[in-house]
């Protein structure tokens, strides 16, 4: 199933907006993870604007698809997707990391549209397994549980406990997506902790594996479509999405120094202009430049 030209354009725009808003929130919130937010922009665009069966008007709809962001530090991109999808006003994004604002990592009690709370890596797939088991009990056969993991995150043993159980329970309503951006917090995976042969690991743990270019909307969509409608046959499926950490901002690409670092207002402005150029959009800078500078000086030294 190819995307219609309109849909393709919409998804491309959404991915672009998710990138922009992630940078804006992190700069204005003065905290956050740029690299891992930018690497999954296309994944979230396809999920939230095409694949997920959800209803922002009825966020508790029992048969909705669930998305668990196990790499919860990617919250800026997720919050952006949720706001763009209509769960809450875009303006709320600018409360990111402020007291009583959007939480740095995910807090489902604070923010509508979030399915879980997170922060510590490695725990989300277990929760997704529990949801998949629960939904199967409810006989919500059409519902799917998606879980996005970081590549570095798969160092955590908890991930493999969950993987083993998902296969044991034949959870073909569960789709894991690894944002395989090759970089963890402090360097490349192969330097810090090699995870290869990665496909073989998942296969040996009983999963179907599909590899995909994680920035190719068409490919992602095709893979997710297959995962939902064609492949399920008594096994969970993992989509290994080959991505570029920091995708869209040259300086941040594959650069662990931009894993977690908030750009100051001027840098954010530069990044946002670069993003516009990269994605062929009208050049636009940081929308909250002045407020951001004031906020930075107010909190200086903390």
């Amino acid at each position: 199933m190819r995307l219609s030209p309109d849909k393709f354009n919409e998804l491309e725009l959404r991915a672009y907006q998710i990138r922009r808003l992630s940078v804006e929130m992190i700069a204005f919130g003065m905290w956050g993870h740029i690299g891992g937010s930018l690497s999954m922009a296309e994944l979230l665009a396809v999920l939230y604007f095409h694949q997920l069966h959800i209803d922002p008007q009825n966020p508790q709809w029992a048969e909705r698809d669930r998305l668990v962001l196990s790499k919860a530090h990617g919250s800026p991109a997720l919050y952006a997707a949720l706001a763009l999808r209509g769960y809450f006003p875009i303006d709320d994004l600018y409360t990111y990391c402020d007291l009583h604002g959007l939480e740095g990592h995910t807090d489902m009690t604070k923010t509508v549209g979030l399915e879980t709370s997170g922060g510590p890596l490695g725990m989300g797939l277990s929760v997704a397994v529990g949801m998949a088991l629960g939904l199967r009990r409810h006989e919500h056969a059409a519902t799917r549980v998606y879980c996005i993991l970081g590549d570095g995150e798969t160092n955590e043993g908890n991930v493999w406990e969950a993987a083993m159980a998902a296969a044991h329970y034949h959870l073909d309503n569960l789709i894991a997506i690894v944002d395989y951006n090759k970089v963890m917090a402090k360097g490349f995976t192969w330097d810090l902790m090699s995870i290869e042969p990665f496909v073989e690991k998942w296969r040996a743990f009983g999963w179907d594996v599909v590899e995909v270019d994680g920035h190719d909307l068409e490919a992602i969509n095709h893979a997710l479509h297959q995962a939902r409608w064609v492949l399920p046959r008594g096994k969970p499926l993992v989509l290994i999405a080959h991505t570029v950490k920091g995708m869209g901002i040259h300086e941040a690409e594959f650069n662990y120094k931009w894993h977690t670092h908030a750009p100051d207002a001027k840098t954010a402005d530069r990044f946002l202009r670069e993003l516009a150029r990269r994605y062929g959009k009208p050049e636009e800078g940081f929308s909250r430049m002045q407020a951001s500078i004031e906020k930075e000086s107010f909190y200086a030294g903390e």
């Binding site: 510590p120 277990s126 949801m131 088991l133 406990e161």
Partner: protein, 325 residues
């Protein structure tokens, strides 16, 4: 049901009462699911499996996953009871319990089996002395330790009625009966089991029975001990603690756990803040609890009724001698 002859009685072990109550609750609560990590015939969660085989989920020896899956089930409308030994809940899966369950305040009920000293003879790695301090420090978590089987059943009913995460302890031991079959448990409420005027003995879990025995010993020495059972450790009954100590002027706490940061600490916190009074804490004194017979261990760790009585005499003496500024 296997029975034991503690104190000459032939009551079921507490873990059997646990299994039985699970089955009873499961009858009314069709959304209850019991999960196990390869220990269900020890914990007796297996009684639920037998009664409702399709509401039982086995996850193998993987406690992190056990609690993560429980969170996922709670998020899809079930009331999960992820069951394992208390040490493995407390220590192996603390991050999952804290962040996947307690932080979002999910409706998960965590039974901690094999607590404190009477843990068959498995020894230090299995004798859970940390759970009271650890569970008490998690925001949103409720914590209870039952004084007998009827108390446990009441706690389990209250756990299901409370919307949110609960941790409750199951002693691997046969405790003497203290409460009637229709006993009611309320979160944050203690029970005065015996009134007295010289000293208050605050017990939780199996140590309440030890306190009652200690009160008899003290009686023989003409010391009038009040015994207060605080099964609800969090929230704790601040009012009853203060009320009782206002009356008696001194207190002993007794818990089947480390005295660091647990139940004794909770009482010390309340007294310090509300009514300072001489206090002693009975429990495991910052040591690992090795293998051994139960009574040998209770003696070794100074947790016998006679130890409680001695502590009571000590606080009483301090109350009398108290230098007032």
């Amino acid at each position: 049901m296997p029975a034991s002859n503690h104190g000459g009685s032939t009551l079921p072990e507490m873990r059997d009462a646990f299994g039985k109550t699970l089955v009873e609750l499961g009858r009314d609560h069709l959304n209850m699911i019991v999960l196990d990590a390869d220990l269900h015939t020890s914990s007796k969660a297996g009684m639920f499996k037998k009664a409702y085989p399709d509401r039982f989920i086995q996850v193998g020896i993987a406690e992190q996953n056990l609690f993560g899956i429980a969170a996922g089930l709670a998020l899809t409308g079930f009331i999960p009871f992820p069951s394992t030994f208390a040490v493995f809940a407390t220590r192996r899966a603390l991050d999952q319990i804290a962040i996947s369950i307690a932080y979002p305040r999910l409706n998960v009920k965590i039974p901690g089996s094999y607590v404190g000293i009477p843990t068959s003879r498995a020894g230090a790695s299995h004798n859970c002395i940390e759970d009271l301090a650890v569970m008490r420090v998690l925001p949103n978590m409720y914590v209870a330790d039952a004084g007998d089987n009827n108390d446990l059943a009441a706690i389990m009913r209250a756990a299901v009625e409370h919307e949110g995460p609960v941790y409750f302890r199951i002693t691997r031991y046969t405790l003497p009966e203290i409460f009637p079959a229709n006993h009611q448990f309320k979160w944050g409420k203690g029970e005065r089991l015996r009134t007295g005027s010289d000293v208050t003995l605050f017990g939780t879990g199996m140590m309440t029975a030890q306190c009652l025995e200690a009160a008899d010993l003290l009686q023989a020495d003409n010391i009038s001990a009040e015994v207060v059972h605080l099964a609800s450790i969090k929230p704790i009954d601040r009012q009853l603690i203060v009320e009782s100590v206002m009356h008696t002027g001194c207190a002993v706490t007794a818990e089947n756990a480390s005295i660091n940061g647990g139940f004794g600490a909770a009482v010390a916190e309340v007294l310090g803040e509300e009514y300072p009074a001489p206090l002693r804490r009975i429990g495991v004194r910052d040591r690992w609890v090795d293998s051994g017979g139960i009574n040998d261990l209770l003696t070794e760790h100074g947790m016998q009724p006679s130890d409680i009585a001695l502590a009571a005499k000590a606080v009483l003496q301090r109350r009398e001698q108290r230098v007032i500024r």
